[in-house]
Amino acid sequence: MAMTYLEAVRETLRQEMRRDARIIIYGEDVGVRGGVFRATEGLQEEFGEDRVMDSPLAESAIVGTAIGAAINGLRPVPEIQFADFIFPAVNQIVQEAARIRYRSNGTFGVPMVIRAPYGGGIHGALYHSQSIEAFFAHVPGLKVVMPATPYDVKGLLAASIEDEDPVLFLEHKGAYRSIRGDVPDERYLIPLGEAEVKREGTDVSIISWGMTVNSSLKAAENLAKRGVSVEVLDLRTIRPLDTEAILETARKTGKVLVVHEDNLTGGFGGEVSALIAEHALFDLDAPIRRLAGPDVPAMPYAPSLEHAFLVTPEKIEAAAQELAAF
C-alpha cells in the first residue's frame, strides 16, 4: 500500500502494539492530540490511556522513567516532541540508558525506542530543525536509526522495538508528508546495521542516511540524464554501522561523496570518511568529499538563510558532478 513516511510510523506503531502488549507510548501531546505531527493519532483511542499517555513536559523524566519501565518488563517507545528538545534528557540517555548493560556486566538491559523528529527545511529555525545524530552516534551502547523511506520506517521501527538495547529512532520532519512509498501490509523486520544500495551506479558513490538519501536520489536522477552514473548508499542505521557496504561502494566507484544535513565538523560524515581512508584509500580515484550543513549553530529562520543552510538536491548534484569530473 502506498503511504507517507508519517503514516508508516503510525501504522507500524499500531501493528506492533497490537501484537506486543508490552509496548507503551508516552510523551508530550501524544494522547488526545495524537502528537504534534500526528504520528500517534488514534493510538490512545485504540489502546487506552495506560498504553498511550500524555506525560508532563519533562524530557529527562520521559526518558528516565522509560528506563525504569523497560527494566521492569515493558517496551517503552517514548517520543521526544522535537529532536531539538532531547538535550534535557542527555544525562538519562547517555549516562544511563546507553551504559546500563555494560555497567551491570550484562545483567540489566534497557530495551526502548526513543522516537524523535529531526531535521529542517520546514521554517523551524534554530530549535525545530536540528540534526542531532552525531552527538548520539558517538555513544556506545546506543543505536541510532535514521530511515529515509516509508518502507524502511516500518521494517526498522519494528526491528528497533524488538531490539534489546536502547535505540534512538530519528524521523525527518520534512519526510513526514513529502515522502511516499509502498509499504506491505504484513510485518517485516530490517536488521539494524544493514545499509542498502538505493540506486546502483558506477561513477560516483553518494553515502547518506535519513532525509538526505532522498535528496541524493533526486540528484542522481538528474545526473543520470547527463550521463553521470551515481550509486546511492543509504546507511539506514549509523550505529551499528555497515562498514562492509561503505567500503564496497567506495571500492566500486572510487569516488565518494558523503552527504548529511547535520553540521560538517564532527559530523558523522567524518567517521565514514575516516573509515574509507583507513581501509580503502588506494581504491580511491579522488579525495573523499563531504557535503553537509555549514558550521553555524543551527538552521536560521528567514527563508533566505534557511535555504543557504540546507543540503539541497541541487547542491548535491553540483558536488557529485564535480567529483565525477575529478
Binding site: A61, T65, E96, F108
Partner: protein, 337 residues
C-alpha cells in the same frame, strides 16, 4: 524509641509489629553494614581498595526502610551510600567485597563500576550510576511498568538531600505524583553534599517540605531510630500498594565518615560537630534500646560480633581469592548478545 523506652519496657512484641526475631535481624544488618564498611576502610588504607564510600551513620535509616519492602516483589534503586539497604535486601557480604575489589564475580558490575554502585538483578536491586538523582526516575518508571502490568510492586529510590536539588528529583516526583505511582522516595538527609552544608543547598530546613509541590505526603523521620524509620516506610508502602500514590520520606541521619576515602571532612566541619554526631551513632542507641526491652544482652552481643567478624573475614578472603575480570571481556556487554 525514646518514648517507647519508658512505656513498653515489658513488651516483647515491640514497635511496628516487629517480632524479636525481626528486630534482631534489623540489628544484624546494621552491625554488618558497619563492620563491612569499616573493613572496606581498612582495605583502602592498606592499599587494597582504591575507593570507599560509606554508609556509616545511615544504617538505621537504610535497614529500617528496606525491611519495610518485600524482596519478592518490590524493586529498589539505591545510591552509593546504601550498603545497609543492599544487605537488608539480600546481597551478601561476599558479594559486597567482590564489588569493593572489582572482581569478576561482583554482581553489581563485574568490576566495571566503582565500588558501591549497587545493582543485583536477582535481588531486584536496579543498577545505579554516579550522576546523582537519575535513579529517582528509574524508580518511577519501574512503578509505572508495575501498574501497567497489574503487578503489586512498589519501587523505592534512595538519594541524598543534596541530590534533591537536581532537576531529576523534581521531574521524578512530579511524574510519579501525576500518575499516582507506587513509589517511595527516600531522602537520606545527612546535612552535607560532600562539603556543602544543607544551608547552602536549599533555603528550607526540611526536604519533606518539597512534597507540597507535588501533592504527596512528605514525612520527616528520625533516621537514627530504625523503628521510626520502619514505621514511616511501612505506612508509605501500604499507601503505595493501596493505589494512593507516592510518598517522600526525609530521613535525618548523620554522616560519621568523610564523604569518601578521597575526602577529609575535618577541613570543613568542626571537631565539636563531628564529636556531637559521633555521640548520635544509631547502632549503640538501638542496642541499648533492645537491652532496655530485655531482648538483648551481652552474651548475645558477643556472639553476634564473633559471627559478624567471621563473615566479614570470610567475605574478605573470598573476594581476595576471587578472579579479576579477564581483560578480554573489556568489549563485552555493550549490546545484548
Amino acid at each position: 524509641m525514646a518514648k517507647a523506652k519508658g512505656k513498653a519496657a515489658a513488651k516483647k512484641q515491640v514497635d511496628g509489629g516487629l517480632s524479636t526475631e525481626r528486630l534482631h535481624e534489623m540489628y544484624y544488618h546494621m552491625v554488618m553494614a558497619r563492620a563491612l564498611d569499616e573493613r572496606c576502610w581498612v582495605m583502602n588504607r592498606g592499599g587494597q581498595a582504591p575507593f570507599v564510600i560509606s554508609g556509616q551513620g545511615h544504617e538505621a535509616a537504610q535497614v529500617g526502610t528496606t525491611m519495610a519492602f518485600d524482596p519478592a516483589r518490590d524493586f529498589l534503586c539505591p545510591y552509593y551510600r546504601d550498603l545497609g539497604v543492599v544487605l537488608a535486601f539480600g546481597v551478601t557480604p561476599r558479594e559486597v567485597m567482590c564489588g569493593l575489589l572489582a572482581r569478576a564475580n561482583d554482581p553489581s558490575s563485574g568490576g566495571r563500576q566503582m565500588p558501591s554502585h549497587w545493582g543485583h538483578a536477582a535481588r531486584r536491586i536496579i543498577t545505579g550510576s554516579s550522576p546523582v538523582a537519575t535513579q529517582i526516575l528509574h524508580a518511577a518508571g519501574v512503578a509505572l511498568a508495575a501498574r501497567v502490568r497489574g503487578e503489586d510492586t512498589v519501587a523505592a529510590a534512595f538519594f541524598g538531600e543534596g541530590s534533591s536539588n537536581q532537576g531529576d528529583f523534581h521531574e521524578g516526583l512530579n511524574f510519579a505524583s501525576v500518575h499516582r505511582l507506587p513509589v517511595i522516595f527516600v531522602c537520606e538527609n545527612n546535612g552535607y553534599a560532600i562539603s556543602v552544608p544543607v544551608s547552602k543547598q536549599m533555603a528550607i530546613s526540611s526536604v519533606a517540605a518539597r512534597a507540597a509541590g507535588y501533592g504527596i505526603p512528605g514525612v520527616e523521620v528520625d533516621g537514627l531510630d530504625p523503628l521510626a524509620v520502619y514505621q514511616a516506610t511501612e505506612a508509605a508502602v501500604a499507601r503505595a500498594r493501596g493505589g494512593e500514590g507516592p510518598s517522600l520520606l526525609d530521613v535525618k541521619v548523620v554522616r560519621l565518615t568523610s564523604h569518601s576515602s578521597d575526602d577529609d571532612q575535618r577541613s570543613y566541619r568542626t571537631a565539636e560537630d563531628l564529636a556531637a554526631e559521633r555521640a548520635q551513632d544509631p547502632i549503640p542507641r538501638f542496642r541499648s534500646w533492645m537491652e532496655s526491652q530485655g531482648i538483648w544482652d551481652d552474651p548475645q552481643e558477643q556472639q553476634l560480633m564473633t559471627r559478624i567478624k567471621g563473615e566479614v573475614d570470610d567475605a574478605t578472603e573470598f573476594a581476595l581469592a576471587s578472579p579479576v575480570p579477564d581483560a578480554a571481556t573489556l568489549l563485552d556487554h555493550v549490546y545484548a548478545p
